[in-house]
């Protein structure tokens, strides 16, 4: 099956220790869901033998956006502006389309101030993992409602939320996203497998991870709390990521019980059927399932929608995986010849 951790005191296949993937000590609250996600990112990078210099970490502003400082300390990072992480990511990834990007945002950063950039990055199919650490509140400014807060939610300082929540998975699908997943920071195994698959996706992979705010929104009646998540999480399927070089043993499962999805880099994700027979390749079905989940306050998790038929932005711009990156081009390729300049000037009257 999938690669397992070779133990924290040993090295992975590229000779790095687990601690090499760590970042600085977290300054987030103890018990914050975001820390758990950071740990899964560390784990995944270690298990997948990722070279730290091949990854860039990106974020906006907010508690979630601080977290890239707390993982992959040997990777470059850019803590951008509130809601503007996608545009920084777009520029960086067009300049160097060989980089793998992990973006971390929050529900305020993505669902409010950054909704435009979120949807347009998806529309262009920028190849990046876009994680939303979704807790329904603004933590750093002390607990105001975000756009994903439950309708009718009562919080000590913020009062009652009068507005319908925005479902970021729905928004992603509407914008044309080909990898839409929801998970729960209290379900590290699922987070990890989804992260691995997301890193292999051709375009934008959105992970909407419910990540409770222990300071301002963790009462059991909130759908963004640990208590709710633990009690109500309904995985649509079991998830196993299979790296490129490993063989897939489907015969471990009953016929019809497992769906195999091939990812852009040749790796696979195996979806084990649980209670319902869910097809993540049906766009209308995905929207409909999300709609009913929102109405019923069902906490469905897993790979909600998948489609990798559309090219990534770099591919659209003529930069396929093999093309050299723009930043690697020698200067002489960036300045046409003296004769060319003369030709252009001669073409004017």
């Amino acid at each position: 099956m999938s690669t397992r951790s070779r133990g924290r005191d040993r090295t992975n296949e590229i000779g790095l220790e687990f601690t090499d993937y760590k970042g600085r000590p977290t300054s987030l609250c103890q018990g914050c869901g975001h820390n758990s996600i950071s740990n899964q990112i560390i784990q995944v990078a270690y298990e997948l033998n990722v070279h730290p210099h091949e990854i860039i970490k990106l974020s906006g502003i907010g508690c979630s956006s601080k977290s890239p400082a707390y993982f992959l300390g040997m990777s470059f990072g850019f803590n951008a502006l509130h809601g503007r992480m996608p545009s920084i990511a777009t520029g960086a990834l067009m300049a160097n389309h060989h980089l793998k990007a992990v973006g971390v945002s929050g529900d305020g950063d993505t669902g409010s101030i950054g909704m435009g950039q979120f949807k347009h990055a998806i529309r262009r199919n920028l190849r990046m993992v876009y994680i939303v650490e979704n807790n329904g509140v603004y933590g750093l400014t002390k607990g105001q409602f975000s756009a994903t807060a439950d309708e009718g939610l009562e919080l000590k300082y913020a009062g009652t939320n009068e507005f319908r929540p925005i479902d970021l998975c729905q928004e992603a699908i509407v914008a044309g996203c080909g990898f839409v997943a929801r998970s729960f920071s209290g379900d590290p195994n699922q987070v990890r497998e989804l992260l691995k698959a997301a890193l292999s996706h051709r375009g934008t992979a959105v992970l909407d991870i419910i990540s409770p705010c222990v300071a301002f929104n963790n009462k059991d009646f909130s759908t963004k709390s640990y208590g709710w998540g633990k009690q109500h999480e309904e995985p649509l399927h079991g998830l196993d990521y299979v790296p490129i070089r490993e063989e897939i043993y489907i015969d471990e499962y009953e016929p019809g019980e497992v769906k195999q999805v091939e990812l852009h880099d040749g790796s696979h994700i195996l979806l084990r059927k649980l209670e319902e027979d869910y097809d993540p390749t049906n766009r209308a079905g995905a929207m409909s399932r999300l709609e009913s989940a929102l109405d019923q306050q069902e906490f469905i998790t897993g790979l909600i929608y998948f489609d990798d038929s559309r090219p990534s932005l770099a591919e659209t711009e003529g930069l396929d995986d093999e093309a050299p990156t723009l930043v690697s081009l020698p200067d002489e390729k960036l300045r046409p010849s003296r004769e060319k300049l003369q030709d252009v000037m001669d073409s004017f009257i």
Binding site: H53, S87, I88, L329
Partner: protein, 610 residues
């Protein structure tokens, strides 16, 4: 041949027996937007240029796709003056909606070519009127639908060519250029022009003094818009990434960039050496530019006033996180949406400090297409060497109008990529924001650098020399002091002022950008009035020592600019508080390019009261 049978209307008497005015007058063509008149106007402009006569064309157009009035001004000047003039002696009145006002504005002794089909055309006995039977022409050439408008505009080209003496060969050459040598389009247009040319010869008795004659003053020059020159400069300046959001008057810069890049920046196997992304708004456009700059691209955007308002947030990030980025601000009239299709120099103070907190940006001020080309490269060099945002302040007049230019110089210096460390060069002592050389500019690394010590976390939040989050007062202030030191370094790196000193002159004129032609003309007129003035054209901010020396050398320094508040005047006063009283503001903004007359009169007024 209905047209030829018809005689021209007897026109009111013009001023008889005037001395011929050869190659020294201005033409204004009044038409409606969206009728194809731009083709006709450019054809006239280019034909005059091909005759070797110095010209400049200015399109005074509305914010509209079709229907609103538009005026095209052509200055014909044997002396080489290319600034706007307040009055034009030759009027082509081909817009019924504005004909009353257009004729009213003609100076005495002027000429009006008008559409003779109109019922009501005001009469003046101090101008010469020539009526053209447009409807008959259209019937004769069988023009239908959209061709009616297009051919109508070719009729005045033909008539004016006959009246002024514009060579038909030059017109044909201009049309061949405009329509990319497509004879199928050129020929029918030429037919209309010839018809009008011949009809005018046979039916109109020339009673005005305005003529053009071939000269040899445009040899070796060519006509280009500033935006095209800027785009070409970026292509030869090694840009690799651009992002933008459409806005007048900068859009044609990116259009040109796209076209030149496809032509000049694609490898033999079809792989581009650039990417251009049309963003969802200006926030995203500058964000992408900064992301690319951080990753090591020579990265740019082009916008105008409302766009830089939106870019203010990211500008501060580029300044503080020290990311190379270039913004072309092709200025239009603000505040707010303002006059979207009119020119100004109104963004100087805003651009200089674009971003909240203590932000200072490097600004470049191209004055002509040649500098647009050159500064495109200079801006990238400075942005990468200083690791900061550089704004190039062009304007609508420069960007969208056609200017005569000498050939551009091929950039001889290699691309200046600044202090970038490779994997081999990073060691334990390296810190992203350490001032190793004392010039305020630290060494940076680029994402993808394989050295395990090379990575850092770029951020807009307070940080120490290793880019680690810090709220320490000492670290904050020393970092900000270093960034300021970088600005001092910039003073001697940016293009210095262009100075034309007159020995013993008490008066100095200080300006920047496209007011240059008007100032040069004004200085000649002032000499005729016995007033000598030196001239210093600023090409960048921050200023260097030469600027101060110039101000000190002159008793009274007039800072001429196209805005209401005298923005450059204020900046210079703040830069040189001890000699601030030597600086006098001459600022004006009504949406039109400055004229020599305004400068002479305003300066003389101030001199009187001095």
């Amino acid at each position: 041949m209905g047209v030829r049978e018809r005689a021209a209307e007897p026109a009111p008497a013009g001023k008889p027996e005037q001395e011929a005015r050869i190659n020294d007058f201005a033409i204004v063509v009044a038409t409606a937007n969206g009728t194809g008149s731009q083709t006709s106007n450019l054809t006239l402009l280019r034909a005059l240029f091909k005759m070797g006569i110095p010209v400049n064309g200015k399109n005074i157009f509305p914010s509209n796709i079709q229907g609103l009035p538009t005026w095209y001004h052509i200055r014909v000047s044997k002396d080489g003056y290319v600034a706007r003039r307040e009055t034009s002696e030759v009027l082509v009145a081909f817009n019924e909606a504005t004909v009353h006002q257009d004729i009213k504005e003609l100076p005495s002794g002027g000429v009006c070519l008008y559409n003779d089909d109109w019922r009501s055309v005001p009469e003046r006995d101090d101008i010469v009127m020539y009526g053209i039977p447009v409807r008959d022409f259209l019937r004769e050439v069988g023009a239908r639908g959209k061709f009616r408008d297009r051919f109508t505009n070719m009729i005045y080209v033909g008539a004016l060519a006959q009246l002024l003496g514009v060579e038909l060969d030059a017109i044909e050459e201009a049309l061949m250029y405009h329509f990319d040598k497509r004879r199928k389009i050129v020929d029918p247009n030429m037919e209309v022009i010839r018809l009008a040319y011949e009809w005018t010869a046979e039916n109109v008795e020339k009673r005005d003094p305005f003529y053009v004659e071939p000269m040899n003053e445009t040899e070796g020059l060519f006509l280009i818009t500033g935006n095209e020159a800027s785009a070409l400069g970026a292509v030869f300046g090694g840009y690799t990434f651009a992002s933008w959001y459409p806005i007048t008057p900068s859009t044609s810069l990116i259009d040109a960039l796209t076209a030149y890049s496809k032509e000049l920046r694609v490898e033999e196997d079809g792989t581009p050496t650039y990417t251009i992304v049309q963003a969802e708004d200006e926030l995203a456009a500058i964000g992408m530019v900064i992301g690319a700059g951080w990753a090591g691209a020579r990265s740019m955007t082009a916008t105008s006033g409302p766009g830089i308002s939106l870019m203010a947030e990211f500008s501060g990030l580029a300044y503080f996180a020290e990311v190379p980025a270039v913004i072309w601000d092709v200025q239009r009239v603000g505040p707010s949406t303002g006059l979207p299709t009119r020119t100004s120099q109104g963004d100087v103070t805003f651009a200089y400090n674009l971003g909240h907190g203590d932000t200072k940006n490097v600004l470049l001020f191209p004055a002509n297409p040649k500098e647009c080309f050159e500064f495109a490269n200079t801006a990238f060099d400075l942005a990468e060497e200083l690791q900061t945002l550089v704004l190039v302040l062009s304007d609508l007049d420069l960007g969208m109008n056609n200017w005569m230019t000498e050939p551009f110089d091929y950039p001889e210096e290699p691309l200046q990529r600044g202090k970038v460390l490779s994997a081999d060069e990073v060691d334990k002592n390296w810190g992203r924001y350490k001032d190793v050389d004392g010039d305020g500019v630290a060494y940076r690394t680029l994402p993808g650098n394989e050295n395990p010590l090379a990575a850092y976390f770029a951020r807009g939040t307070g940080h120490d020399e290793h880019a680690v989050y810090s709220e320490d007062p000492e670290e904050w202030s020393s970092n900000m002091a270093r960034i300021l030191r970088k600005f001092e370094t910039a003073r001697e790196m940016v293009p210095g002022p262009a100075i034309d000193d007159v020995d013993g002159a008490e008066i100095g004129i200080i300006a920047f950008g496209t007011t240059q032609p008007a100032i040069e003309e004004a200085r000649d007129r002032l000499v005729e009035q016995g007033v000598e003035a030196s001239f210093m054209r600023l090409r960048a901010l921050p200023i260097n020592g030469e600027v101060r020396d110039f101000v000190e050398r002159h008793e009274r320094n007039y800072v001429v600019e196209l805005n209401r508040d005298g923005q450059m005047h204020r900046i210079l006063q703040l830069e040189m508080p001890d000699i601030a009283t030597k600086l006098i503001s001459l600022a004006h903004l009504d949406g039109m390019p400055l004229t020599a007359r305004w400068i002479v009169e305003s300066l003389q007024d101030k001199e009187m009261s001095a």
